[in-house]
């Protein structure tokens, strides 16, 4: 491990101040991903700033919106009775993530900022544009069974690994960001960037920015929502493909629909085209399947991950069918 200075932040401003100046410390929350990255030397920060002592916890429901403190642990949010009732997709996505032990440590904000599982990103001896800009992408013509088919570029095809982010993107959740110049709010959907020519710039966060909370609005789609995750083993594994879906019903008609998918995009991926094919229709296998058939539009498979094109459609269909009571 690279030697680093350790600071425990006393206030959020400690983070924004220190963070916006060299050596730009890495933020330590649950540490479940950061410690892996430090031990493998994927990250070699000169300083770590520990935010676990900050008052960034708590789950508060207010004005039809759930405010989740950045340091709320995955297990706490997953087991919250309000979440289970009114935002089931959030609870399911969390419970299908990681293991019980990891969920007890890992935080909500940290989960959104976890780094890709691309094996080349995590092995410092191989080229990786995301880790070392300009060195090349080893996954393009390498082992890419787990890689993305949507939002890729010729510089990077790494899939975003978070399940929670997929659920949050489906529900129009937003994050509060405290920066050196004050507070801001960004949709989770806009938090992550596409790799483009700069895959090393993963989010819109600037040095010194600190996610303080996540806001998840209540909605008909949120209260009737579902998560389906396909993976190589039954638990404790990232998604090959996942789907977060929500259906707001008006009698026998779909008033509103939300569909977001994971394991297939370089960032959490919202499928508005699929949603629009659902809205105004009566739920049923044909409607679900017809909508899901558009899920992989624009997909660019690259070798080992070609199976994800069909699997994506099947997964979205399955999620809709299960939610719609057709499965």
């Amino acid at each position: 491990m690279h030697p680093f200075a350790y600071t425990a932040a006393q206030t959020p401003q400690d983070v924004t101040t220190r963070g916006s100046h060299p050596p730009h410390p890495d933020i330590l929350a649950g540490g479940t991903d950061l410690l892996q990255l430090l031990k493998e030397r994927v990250r070699t920060p000169a300083e770590l700033i520990d935010i676990n002592g900050l008052d960034l916890g708590g789950i508060v429901e207010k004005n039809g919106c759930l405010r989740v403190g950045a340091l709320v642990r995955m297990s706490e949010l997953a087991e919250d009775p309000r979440v289970k009732r009114d935002w089931p997709v959030v609870s399911k996505a969390l419970l299908e993530s990681a293991s019980a032990q990891v969920r007890n440590m890992a935080t909500i904000a940290g989960n959104l900022l976890q780094r890709t599982r691309c094996p080349y990103f995590r092995d410092v001896t191989t080229p990786c544009n995301r880790r070392d800009p300009g060195t090349g992408c080893s996954a393009l013509d390498g082992l890419n069974r787990i890689h993305a088919i949507l939002g890729t570029s010729d510089r990077c095809i790494a899939a975003h690994p978070s399940d929670l982010a997929v659920a949050l993107v489906a529900l129009d959740a937003r994050v509060s960001i405290l920066g050196p110049d004050g507070e801001d709010e960004v949709a989770v959907e806009n938090l992550h960037r596409l790799p483009g020519d700069t895959p090393h710039m993963e989010t819109v966060l600037q040095p010194g920015d600190l996610i303080t909370a996540i806001h998840i609005p209540a909605s008909g789609c949120a209260s009737r929502s579902h998560y389906v995750k396909v993976r190589d083993r039954a638990t404790f594994e990232w998604a090959l493909v996942s789907a977060a879906v929500g259906l707001d019903m008006d009698g026998g008609t779909i008033r509103d629909a939300r569909v977001a998918v994971g394991g297939v995009g370089t960032k959490p991926w919202r499928l508005r085209a699929v949603e629009s094919l659902l809205i105004g229709k009566a739920p049923g296998p044909q409607v679900f399947k017809a909508a899901a058939d558009r899920a992989a539009d624009g997909a660019q498979p690259r070798g080992d991950n070609a199976y994800k094109v069909e699997l994506l459609k099947h997964t979205v269909t399955r999620a809709l069918m299960e939610l719609g009571g057709c499965a």
């Binding site: 491990m1 690279h2 094996p119 092995d123 191989t126 390498g142 090959l240 099947h314 997964t315 399955r318």
Partner: protein, 723 residues
């Protein structure tokens, strides 16, 4: 009158070391703390072939806490004396990797420097500061390329077996199948990483090492350093899982001893999880062709089995992959071949049921294909080809409980309710499949010694330099000793894992119970006879009387040592454990996932010393087979010549949610020939046959043959799409 309290063989005694393990009191190799212990970090090559042009250690040497940096420039030249007889745990041809003896690079991940520092953190940081420049040379990193011109293993057991004319019989067979099966490279991934602590005292060396064979560890290091074996003591009381990875004495053991010598103080060297994918061995990728010919009624007329496994550039690691095929079924015409594909990779090594698990999975998947081709139930096909004697060695079986295994497991599974047509057993949207396979593993035995001390407090200590990597050696040996000594288990302590103890063979190949158990029994029988002689009794002496007898004679204790070795029986009988495995799978045809709700296994493995630890062995073996079938694979990148999923997050061993209801039965089997205890061992047989049973069940569910393991969702979806 017998004392029932001491009749403990066959009883489900809980692990005698269980409390020590769960409370942390058990001391594993890496937990010893000699004075002035320094910590080592290994620097490894990042190219698969070539030479080190320049190695810059100055930055590392200047880093805080660094004691030294050992490289090929400053490391002592070690004699690496050859051993009079190469231990069976080493490849039988080629030369072991010599560490820091020169600039040559033979694989990616080869140790090229060792940094010793006051703390582990200082050592690992400094290791990253070592800068290396290479002159790369062309490397063989593609298996397919290496397999084009494979070669015969340079030494070792013959793998090309033949009887009759298999090719002609295959061509003439009314029913035949001919297919190729691909099993990927797998790594052991024991939870305990490999670790060595080395401490020199003058020319005497103590090694605390993770090893399955302290005796060979001592011998190998003695030869590497050119010092007498008596100068070395190896201590290894607990092993946190090994699965064969700690059979050999790996280069890092030499590195630890070398670094300690150079530093003039004890050094601890623990490999990182990523390094465990290149510094120790692995199960080689093996591609196998199996062709079977049969009469219309399913009786085999031809068996051809050709396998190619990969090995390193410097050693021929050969497995007995094709050997079980020569004995498992009755067939007049047979031909087998095993070849090696040398690559720029570290040498493979045995991994639980080495070779056998690989060969049997291909044969048993092929048998399933033959059953389908002949229109015969898979179990019935096995029964029609039942081998009444070993047609390879032309010997009778010492015992064979396989018919009982088939019947017992089939009944417990409910096999008679199987509907033969693939895809015919749906449950809702899920495709249900039932499959089965045969399991087999040879019963070996080696010479072993054990000692007994009976003390005047009525307790006994039994010792042998054996190992317990998890199966329960401590417990089972305590039971054997307690019964032979007529003492309750609580009054007997078994000690192992130290070269100061009586010699034991390797803890591998399922031989420990047969070998060390026989020695323990012999020593205890002799000790009890000694007590009887002291007591002048006519009747057998009772364990409860030991204390009184010793006190009457004013003896604080008696010491007895005994040797036990296999005899002529090995030439008169063919000895194998057998088993039958039945699997149910559920395949989601849309998502491509395969889940296994239940596995049923029945085993004929001689006498079961402890049904509790025996069941654990079998359950563990089933989980290994499940992983091999569905998720485990070391993902190799041809371009870099390295494993890319080199961590426990991406190398997918089954988790609890993957593990189904596991049903284990031992059929009654009395074998008077194998060894004095009548045991056949369980470690390996438990892993064999599970993978093909699952693969065959997936075929039954889907109608598709998945001949490339593991059967992951992408393969299932691709297969179903072609249907």
């Amino acid at each position: 009158m017998t004392d029932q309290s001491s009749a403990v063989i066959g009883k489900p005694v809980s692990r005698v070391d269980g409390r020590a393990k769960v409370t942390g009191a058990a001391t594993y190799a890496g937990e010893f703390r000699p004075d002035r212990l320094a910590h080592a970090a290994v620097v490894t090559s990042s190219i698969p072939a070539g030479r080190i042009r320049a190695l810059f250690a100055d930055a590392a040497e200047a880093s805080p806490g660094v004691v030294l940096v050992a490289t090929h420039h400053n490391a002592p030249r070690l004699p690496y004396n050859s051993m009079a007889q190469r231990p069976q745990v080493d490849p039988q041809a080629g030369d072991q990797l010599r560490v820091l003896q020169g600039p040559e690079i033979q694989f990616n991940g080869q140790p090229i420097a060792v940094v010793v520092a006051e703390t582990l953190e200082q050592a690992t940081h400094a290791a990253a500061l070592v800068r290396v420049e290479y002159d790369p040379t062309p490397a063989v990193t593609r298996f397919e390329e290496a397999a084009k011109s494979p070669r015969k293993p340079g030494a070792g057991k013959p793998t090309d077996l033949a009887r009759g004319d298999a090719d002609a019989a295959l061509a003439a067979a009314p029913v035949s199948v001919d297919a190729t099966y691909d099993q990927p490279m797998e790594h052991h991934n024991a939870i305990e990483p490999h670790v060595t602590i080395a401490a020199w005292d003058g020319d005497r060396l103590t090694l605390w090492d993770k090893t399955q064979w302290v005796g060979n560890d001592r011998a190998e290091i003695a030869h590497v350093f050119g010092i007498p074996e008596e100068n070395i003591r190896v201590v290894s009381p607990f092993v946190g899982g090994a699965f064969g990875s700690a059979l050999r004495t790996w280069p890092h053991v030499t590195l630890a001893a070398m670094a300690a010598k150079m530093a003039g103080r004890p050094v601890k060297l623990e490999l990182t999880r990523r390094q465990l994918f290149s510094a120790i061995g692995f199960r080689p990728r093996t591609v196998q062709r199996v062709a079977l010919g049969a009469e219309a009624d399913g009786r085999l007329t031809a068996v051809i089995h050709e396998a190619v496994g990969h090995t390193s550039q410097y050693e021929d690691y050969a497995e007995t992959t094709v050997e079980p095929t020569a004995m498992l079924y009755s067939c007049r015409n047979l031909r087998t071949a095993y070849r090696l594909a040398p690559m720029n990779i570290n040498s493979p090594c045995p991994m639980r049921a080495p070779g056998v698990i690989t060969g049997v999975l291909a044969l048993e998947m092929a048998m399933d294909e033959l059953a389908e081709a002949a229109g015969i139930d898979p179990l019935e096909l096995r029964l029609r080809n039942y081998a009444e004697r070993d047609e390879n060695k032309d010997l009778p079986w010492s015992s064979k409980g396989l018919r009982d295994c088939y019947r017992t497991a089939a009944e417990r599974f409910g096999w008679s309710g199987r509907s033969a047509a693939p895809g015919s057993m749906r449950d809702g949207r899920e495709l249900v499949g039932w499959g089965m396979a045969t399991a087999v593993y040879p019963t070996h035995r080696a010479a072993a010694s054990a000692s007994v001390v009976i003390r005047d407090d009525g307790t006994a200590v039994v010792r042998s330099a054996a190992s317990d990597m998890g199966p329960g050696t401590y417990t089972a040996m305590t039971q054997v000793a307690a019964e032979a000594l007529d003492l309750p288990v609580e009054r007997v302590r078994f000690e192992l894992g130290d070269t100061d103890l009586p010699k034991a063979p390797v803890h591998g190949g399922s031989i420990t119970m047969a070998s060390v158990g026989s020695a323990v029994q012999a020593a205890c029988v002799a000790a009890r006879a000694r007590m009887r002689a002291l007591s002048n009794a006519v009747d057998p002496v009772r364990g409860a009387d030991y204390a009184g007898i010793l006190r009457r004679h004013g003896l604080p204790q008696v010491d007895v040592e005994a040797d036990a070795a296999p005899g002529i029986e090995q030439k008169r009988f063919s000895m194998y454990a057998f088993g039958a495995i039945f699997a149910e799978v559920r395949v989601d045809p849309n998502l491509g996932t395969v889940r296994v709700p239940r596995l049923v296994g029945a085993y004929g493995s001689g006498r079961i010393i402890n049904p509790k630890t025996a069941r654990s062995q079998c359950v563990g073996g089933m989980v290994l087979g499940l992983g091999m079938a569905l998720s485990e694979q070391s993902e190799w990148d041809d371009r870099f010549g390295k494993v890319m999923n080199a961590n426990l997050a991406e190398y997918l061993v089954p988790v609890n949610a993957d593990v189904p209801h596991l049903d284990v039965t031992f059929v009654d089997e009395h074998d008077p020939h194998v060894n004095p205890l009548g045991v056949k061992g369980l470690a390996e047989i438990a892993a064999v046959g599970v993978t093909p049973a699952i693969a065959n069940a997936v075929h039954h569910a889907t109608g598709i043959r998945f001949r490339s393991l593991p059967i992951t969702p992408d393969k299932v979806l691709a297969g179903l799409a072609k249907r």
